[in-house]
């Protein structure tokens, strides 16, 4: 991209903390990352949050409608053409932005990106590639799909594997990423009909390790874990809940006796530092792979820090040419 500044379109109205945290995150992203941000949303809600109603590196694009978290994704993306979400995707399509970031309705974000940006040839359905921290490892794992395409065919899962592998090359800097199919046992015959039929297709994908189980997540058994969007989303929420419970357990123990409290004064700050790796705001966002443009989906309760990190992911995807490399890899088979 040379020295030209990248513009990232940010859905100012998407997410539980919109527009306040989103706008704050946009301001921080401009200051910290050297990108321009196109804030898309209701101007009368956004402008008062900017110093003097404007800020260097920030442009506002007015969009009259908002897609709610509980709206039907396809219908919202299709009918709410003046929504902040659809206008973000349109800005990428028209080249006014090189990437988009949204923390709103995940399904609608996928549908808007698909309908406005189009699909990568050879990919039937997009998938969300979610980086999963591996505490004992040197790099993240990727879980694909994190919730974009709920009902999948074996062929689509095989496409997810190829996309995840290429993305791992680019983002995790792994030359030959390994791929595992999430199932209920390691043996090839394990799983439901979808898993069994997918297994035979994945045997043709380079780097296929075989089936992996839930316990292989966060342990780096493979670089890319492939599953359908329904299972992937349940897995992510399960990890989130389990980690929260583990933290509560540890801090409960450290608060249980006078001796434990003394120990906690030393250990607690170290644990909090270490636990930062699990903070979803640090990850920022996950990339929607398979659409013909960069679309980063951030979690619904994104803070300003999450938005900065999501914009960072978007920026890196543009700079490393993620979409172009994905197209080449899929074309090459």
């Amino acid at each position: 991209m040379g020295t030209q500044r990248i513009t990232v379109a940010v859905d100012a109205m998407g997410g539980d903390k919109a527009p306040g945290e989103i706008v704050r995150g946009a301001l921080d992203a401009v200051a910290q990352l050297g990108v321009d941000v196109l804030l898309v949303g209701q101007e009368d809600a956004i402008a008062p949050l900017l110093p003097d109603g404007r800020a260097p590196g920030i442009d506002i694009e007015h969009a009259g409608e908002v897609v709610a978290m509980d709206e039907d994704p396809a219908a919202a993306a299709r009918r709410k053409k003046d929504s902040s979400l659809v206008r973000c995707a349109q800005a990428v399509r028209e080249g006014r932005a090189q990437a988009m970031v949204g923390a709103g309705n995940t399904g609608a974000t996928m549908a808007a990106a698909l309908l406005r940006m189009g699909r990568v040839r050879g990919i039937s359905r997009p998938a969300i590639a979610v980086p999963i921290p591996v505490p004992a490892g040197t790099r993240h794992q990727l879980l694909i799909d994190g919730g974009s395409t709920v009902d999948c065919t074996p062929e689509w899962l095989a496409q997810f594997a190829r996309m995840g592998r290429e993305y791992a090359r680019t983002r995790l800097a792994v030359d030959e990423p390994t791929v595992g199919l999430l199932s209920n046992g390691e043996e090839p015959g394990k799983g439901d009909e979808l898993r069994k039929r997918t297994f035979s297709l994945l045997e043709k994908v380079p780097g296929f390790h075989g089936n992996v189980e839930g316990r292989d997540l966060m342990h780096g058994t493979v670089d890319v874990v492939v599953t359908d969007g329904f299972t992937g989303n349940v897995v992510l929420k399960t990890l989130e809940g389990a980690l929260r419970a583990a933290v509560e357990l540890v801090f409960g123990v450290l608060d249980s006796t006078p001796e434990a409290k003394e120990a906690g004064k030393v250990v607690a700050p170290l644990l909090l530092d270490a636990a930062a790796v699990f903070d979803p705001d640090m990850t920022g966002g996950a990339v929607l792979l398979g659409v013909d443009g960069v679309c980063v989906i951030s979690h619904g309760s994104s803070s300003a820090r999450a938005i900065v990190n999501a914009v960072r992911v978007a920026q890196e995807c543009v700079e490393t040419g993620v979409v172009g490399r994905l197209k080449e890899a899929i074309d090459a088979g």
Binding site: A74, R78, R79, A111, L114, L115
Partner: protein
């Protein structure tokens, strides 16, 4: 082809609608246009799911909307369009109305 027997009800006739629909649907489903016939069922014959049909509707609205101002397809009608023929007839009727 049965489409030739239809009477054009607007500025764009059924043959043209069929040609555009085939072209767009083939692109979306990444299949050969020859697989798409007038009597093809979207789901049973072409494996087109609801998202693929929405992509098709968007593509048709974009292309035909440039030639016929205000052309649109009602989401509520989508469920009734089971075959290519039904879709062509529907679009032609909308163009002529």
């Amino acid at each position: 082809m049965p489409a030739e027997t239809h009477v054009a009800q607007g500025p764009i006739g059924p043959d043209e609608v069929y040609r555009i629909l085939r072209e767009r649907l083939a692109e979306i489903l990444e299949i050969d246009e020859d697989r798409i016939k007038l009597d093809s069922s979207f789901t049973a014959d072409l494996d087109a799911d609801s998202l693929a049909l929405i992509e098709l509707v968007e593509a048709l609205e974009e292309e035909l909307g440039e030639r016929t101002v205000g052309f649109s397809i009602d989401d509520e009608d989508l469920g009734d369009l089971r075959t290519v023929q039904e879709a062509v007839d529907y679009v032609v009727a909308r163009l002529g109305s």
